[in-house]
């Protein structure tokens, strides 16, 4: 009873967040569409039928169809209503429905995000070992490395990796899409930044657990070595590490945009940058909305994971 209502609160909170994200993105894009110079009907017609086939009649029929002659407030309401029905409109560049485009790109981006997340998990054992021997050479070495890596913005890191693995060593393709080799460099770029922070957070978590009264007591009751760490160290240290992944999601989503552009990887971030350059506002709306909702979803999953690990947060296990 208590538990289900707790879950209800969490789900409701995240659902509200999702609605808020959609409302904000929709409103901003609406304002953007109407503040661009020129006639929106013309722009849309040109997008749909190609600049050559575009005529005044075509623009007029688009105007009629989309109600562009109506008062602004009415159009705004209509735009939000469409959004509520998951109708994202058509791209101004390709003329195809936004939803179709997003499906393909989102798939590519999810692969990239997943690959970098998996690679970044390597930072956690490093942090745990460093934390178990806090103050040792591994601890200090990994700290220097983590600070160095995290201080580099993803675009610099990406270029460095490209220079090393593609140009100097020739092991991996510098850019493009199609095979797992193409995925590796962009994923590694993102993973290094993520791993740097995960490493430090798990190091601090582990060091703190080792100082705790329950860890000391577990030693005094006769547990030793790996058994001790596995039974009383890891789960407790995981609580802050998992919670922190929620913060890392910002880095991940921001990184996807930058990294996809550098490596010409046809994901949603790449699409967003191109849509911005081409002033394809519906496409911008679609991509930004997807990334925003992805962020909400990641945080929901992390909430669930935290509750599963830590009984004090009221989850079921």
């Amino acid at each position: 009873m208590l538990r289900s209502s707790l879950w209800g609160t969490v789900l409701l909170g995240r659902a509200l967040q999702a609605v808020l994200v959609s409302l904000l993105v929709g409103s901003l894009c609406f304002a953007l569409m109407h503040s661009l110079p020129g006639d929106p009907a013309m722009r849309i017609a040109a997008g749909r039928y190609g600049p050559d086939a575009m005529s005044l009649q075509a623009a007029e029929s688009v105007r009629q169809e989309l109600g562009l002659e109506q008062p602004l407030l009415q159009q705004y309401g209509r735009a939000l209503w469409q959004l509520a029905q998951f109708d994202l409109g058509h791209s101004l560049v390709t003329g195809r429905p936004i939803l179709e485009e997003l499906q393909v790109q989102l798939g590519h981006s999810l692969w990239l995000a997943l690959a970098s997340l998996l690679l970044s998990l390597l930072g956690i054992p490093l942090g745990i070992i460093a934390g178990a021997r806090a103050g040792g050479w591994l601890d200090r070495g990994s700290q220097a490395l983590a600070i160095g890596v995290r201080a580099l913005p993803p675009f610099v890191l990406g270029l460095l990796l490209m220079w090393l693995f593609s140009i100097q060593l020739g092991w991996l393709p510098p850019a493009g899409f199609g095979s797992w080799q193409h995925l590796l460099l962009p994923a590694l770029t993102l993973a290094l930044g993520l791993a740097a922070l995960s490493c430090r957070v798990s190091r601090d978590a582990m060091a703190e657990v080792q100082q705790s009264a329950y860890f000391t007591f577990a030693r005094h009751k006769g547990l030793r070595g790996l058994t001790l760490i596995q039974r009383h160290g890891l789960r407790n240290a995981a609580i802050p590490v998992v919670a922190y992944l929620g913060v890392q999601a910002v880095y991940l989503i921001e990184g996807v945009v930058v990294v996809e552009s550098i490596f010409a990887y046809p994901g949603i971030g790449h699409a967003m940058v191109h849509a911005i350059i081409a002033r394809d506002v519906p496409m911008v709306q679609g991509t930004v909305l997807t990334l925003g909702l992805l962020f909400v979803l990641i945080n929901l999953l992390i909430d669930a994971a935290c509750r599963w690990i830590d009984p004090r947060q009221g989850g079921t296990r």
């Binding site: 329950y214 005094h220 009751k221 039974r231 789960r235 407790n236 690990i309 009984p311």
Partner: protein
Amino acid sequence: MSLSLRIEHLSIRAGLTLLVRDISLTLTAGTPLTLLGESGSGKSLVMHAIMGSLPDGLQAHGQIWLQLPGQPAQELLRLPAAQRQALWGRTLALLPQEPWLALDPTMTVRQQVQEVHQQVRGLSAAQARQQALDNLQNVALHDAVVSQPPVAERYPFQLSGGMCQRVAIAMADAAGGQVLLADEPTKGLDEALRDSVAQQLLREAAGQRLLLTITHDLQLAQQLGGVIGVMRGGELLEVTQAQQLLQQPRHDYSRRLLQADPGRWPVRQPSWTDTGGQLLEGRGLSKYMGGRCLFSGLHLRLQPGQITAITGPSGCGKTTLGNILLGLLPADQGQVIRTSGLTSLQLQKLYQDPPSAFAPHLTLAQGFNDLQRRHGFSDKELAVLLERLGLHPSLLQRLPAAISGGELQRMALARALLLKPRLLLADEATSRLDPVSQQQVMLLLGDLCAEQGLALLLVSHDQALVARMADQVVSLEAHGVTA
């Protein structure tokens, strides 16, 4: 040879500083040994020297002979660290202080007892599980009525402090350690829970086991009986049969320690008389927490100079009521009416754990300087107050962790008094102090009420202390209220 532990000429040093000086003691089966003393007396160090868990930088000298039945006696201090740690759990069992912090928060208590059988003794999962349930049953942790989740499958945060202490005892039973070392086992527990822990410890000691308890709780020492040693400043002042020590202590300090037990305090002359004045009034106060009613329809009036105690067992809502009266928490029903001109700043609070009420990396002087800049009292006021509270000004140059709990609580009192409060809430303010420090702080509080017309709101689970101090008592119970 039967089971025994002999400490011979034990000294503990940190560099050149002698922390414990030449202590000799013998522990035998069937006779519990209790070390009494204030914080800093070195009693915990003795226990850690036996265990082999002294902090880095401390060295133990002398000999500690452990005699297990049917084995040659071994001298513990001479064993290498790995061999000493191999004794943990299997031979030496340490009961932690504040066990609710010492149990893993993410495992059920059954899992935590089971792992001792499984990981330490090498039993199969099924056997270990059954034995863990037996251990819990033996310390009376089982369900009298069917509850959901059953006690064994609960997490530590779902249990009371006394239940957590019994879980710790069940773990010691599970590992089968023949030497039981109990480190302040009743710290922070109310009387009912303290009695149940004392009974459990006695039951443990009745078998073929040694029991060494470290405490400053005189009631616990009395209940355990056996032999009592009194420690002060790293020295063992006397070791005597419990009855004899409690009735006719030989040493002056032992006498002072016994006098400091609230049950033996001289009866306070009430300084307060009902003048009809009023500082604060609670009308029809109710509070619910987690669907449970803590109190409802409570009326309460506080007058200048009056000492009001809120008392009751752990978890009954004492602190919550205090915080509502101070305006730190809202009441669910009813209202708190302050007399006109009474500002929030004139309502001050003393907290239970002095170290957590101070910024750990700031010297006390820095803290008082900041307070002075904000509230503008004179240096002289501070100096007079420190003298009144029996605090040497040189203590100000230290960090909070570098002075004793009793001194730090008096610093907290000075900090509150500088703001010229008219009402002070002391929330279990002396429950973590040793009896001598406790009496000192309480006497001061009583005097201040008489001298300055300060109203004192005392939150305490200690009935004896409440009976000695309070002009007015509010007793909260698990169900309902008697005022």
